[in-house]
Symmetry: C2
């Protein structure tokens, strides 16, 4: 099995100004090819340190992927270190990347500066994978066996997460072209509503019957639920897929509605498909979630086909005036209550004329108001089957609570729509 090391370059990570999310994205991508990442390192913008560490990582691994240190400003010295490491004496201009630099800057209405064009220059001993999402090209250095005791490849990616992850498909393709990889077949199932431990208990009997060469991984994420990944290493893809499908057929009745997708998916994408299928439109009324639910729904391409709009009613007056929640209901039951969630859902459905609607009212932080404690959200769904409400409670910080409220609300909506 090929081994890899991921090196992130940049003082901003070492001083804790930003959290490194690239390494996790890269190792997941490598994992999909069956390549095992056995080390991740963050190192400073220091030329000597970069050279020395990359050398030691290249000696210990087949593949090294670096990110960062490739911006246009002068605190970036990575490229220079890479030139020395690869024994490049000169830089050459990559014309295709230069064209991309022009295109990107022009499309943003920005002047093309000399420091921008310098980004198209690469050490002569590297191959370039074009960066279509940014200005710094991806540089590929292939070292022969003699150099580090085994053939080793270094991929230098930019640090901007959007660009680094954007380059991954091309990097994986390059790895596939240059190495013989054992085939791995993965299938992902998405569940929501069960904690990892409860899920493990529910499916324990099924899991015990899995053949030895089939691996099950639990990948919990509070915002998308627990992802289950079934993998088979080796064999033909056709055979592996047939065997995995058989296991999934056996698992589906055990999971029931807690299974929301048989591919890597989000709740909002699944809801979009369900709404299309049932020819329903959707509107949303948010209080504590403050726009996050509408945001999630509209990240799905084509959501304008079914999403009519939303009202974020942060102020009580907006709840009353725009959504028509009776002042009396708020006074009697409290602003965070089933009754207010129901009135908000019904109000936004009336306002927009949507087929179904979803509403949230809760306390994202603090002590609550005596009716309900902080961390509580009431979710309401209104639609052809009437109005339903449910309460959820989390004990995280403000930001995380908002995210979990939103995910739980979307899942509650999903279960409502399924039954229509």
């Amino acid at each position: 099995m090929l081994s890899a090391s991921i090196c992130t370059i940049g003082d901003e990570i070492l001083i804790g100004q930003i959290v490194d999310t690239n390494s996790a994205a890269i190792t997941r991508a490598l994992g999909s090819l069956g390549i095992r990442c056995t080390r991740m390192i963050s190192l400073p913008d220091d030329r000597a340190e970069i050279i020395s560490l990359l050398k030691s990582e290249l000696s210990a691994h087949d593949i090294v992927i670096s990110t960062g240190g490739l911006g246009p400003t002068k605190d970036d010295i990575t490229k220079d270190a890479l030139a020395e490491l690869s024994g490049s004496r000169k830089y050459r201009k990559d014309e295709a990347q230069e064209q991309i630099i022009y295109n990107i800057l022009h499309s943003r209405g920005l002047e093309v500066l000399e420091c921008n064009l310098r980004q198209a220059l690469v050490p002569e001993r590297c191959e370039v994978i074009l960066n279509r999402k940014g200005t710094a090209p991806i540089m590929v250095f292939r070292f022969p066996k003699e150099r580090f005791g085994h053939p080793a490849t270094l991929y230098a990616l930019p640090g901007v997460p959007f660009e680094a992850t954007g380059a991954l498909p091309d990097v994986l393709e390059d790895i596939r072209t240059h190495h013989t990889l054992e085939h791995i077949t993965h299938r992902t199932l998405m569940t929501y509503g069960l904690a990892e431990s409860a899920l493990a208990q529910r499916i324990a009997a099924w899991e015990d019957t899995l053949p030895a060469d089939m691996h099950l991984a639990y990948l919990p994420n509070p915002l998308t639920g627990v992802r289950l990944r079934l993998s088979v290493y080796g064999g033909t893809q056709e055979d592996a897929e047939r065997r995995i499908s058989g296991q999934i057929q056996a698992l589906k009745p055990i999971l029931g509605q807690d299974l929301y997708s048989e591919q890597d998916d989000t709740l909002e994408a699944v809801i979009g498909r369900l709404l299309r299928e049932k020819e329903l439109s959707l509107s949303v009324a948010e209080s504590c979630t403050g726009g996050e639910i509408a945001h999630l729904i509209t990240t799905v391409s084509g959501s304008s086909d079914y999403f009519l709009g939303s009202v974020t009613s942060y102020a009580v007056a907006v709840k009353e005036k725009v959504l028509g929640v009776p002042a009396d209901t708020i006074d009697r039951f409290g602003i965070v209550s089933a009754e207010v969630a129901a009135a908000m859902a019904e109000g936004v459905r009336r306002l927009t004329g949507s087929g179904v609607s979803l509403a949230t009212t809760g306390w994202a932080e603090g002590e609550g108001d005596g009716h309900e404690p902080g961390g509580t959200v009431w979710v309401g769904v209104a639609g052809p089957q009437g109005t339903r409400c449910r309460k959820f409670n989390y004990k995280n910080d403000r930001k995380r609570n908002i995210e979990r409220f939103s995910a739980s609300a979307l899942d509650f909506l999903r279960r409502y729509i399924i039954e229509l």
Copy 2:
């Protein structure tokens, strides 16, 4: 200056199942003492690998902080590795931590298992800092000069972020007690509206005059703009802060309104402060940004003091009916136009009675409609100084365009409010 290395132990990071947030929190804490973290490493749950890497990190650094690998389940082998590394032949029980284990499990209504009590056992050659938030104690190993060529200390923290960060104050206190510390002073400035390269060019003359011991770093982020960080290592804090302040005073007129904060900040937080200062309330009408702007505004704690609410008018009918945008305006100028952005901003301001309002209408993806191409957003702000509009254009994917539209809209609002 003392140097530190942070080592995270655990397969879950190396396979990308979780993102390492502990390292950023730890290095920020160390930075506050003027201790410079020069390496972060993630290593697998492998006894030999743990011992070998900790040895090499202890040889190269004064302080090594490890997190992870200390849970009650059997895949955790870190403690055993630490016993060998420290030459401990026996384990001893830490009575105070054992008491905490009992208290924590009882308070959660859980049975105290043998594997839980084993967590109170530590290698004999370590000192214990109590973990009050979890069951695994913090272990401190002090190595004499003879062992690694200099005095070195290893702090082994649990991996759960809540416990690791919870232990930091006690770890810092221990470091302060055992070392004489040099001071490090950072100041961060937030800019928006200039690309990194244009910013570098604008401030090049100022940057050239910086003294040699003052370091400037550019940290670009499309959603918060380019962050500038000025650092001084050594000297007294008072002197360093005075000198940095002097430089910032010289820089401010060069940056003008493109500088939005003199601390690590977000546009939405700055807008919140400006609104409080000027005693203005805010409402938002979103089309293409789909709730993201309201979401960003409400991630700020206390935003309910000035944020009244928002309408996401995805469907044309919602624009007309809820926001009162005249059908004729849409027909004449197109849905993505200055006129519609203005009418949306004025409509939501009227609907909610807010002091100022912000509106967006754009194409997050696709080809546009002949009036404006995909990637275009029109932003409108309405308030006491009348209504103003501006167009922005980006060429990213749907999700990224939504984020950039939102950031640009917030910045446009900020500039409007400043001038009130």
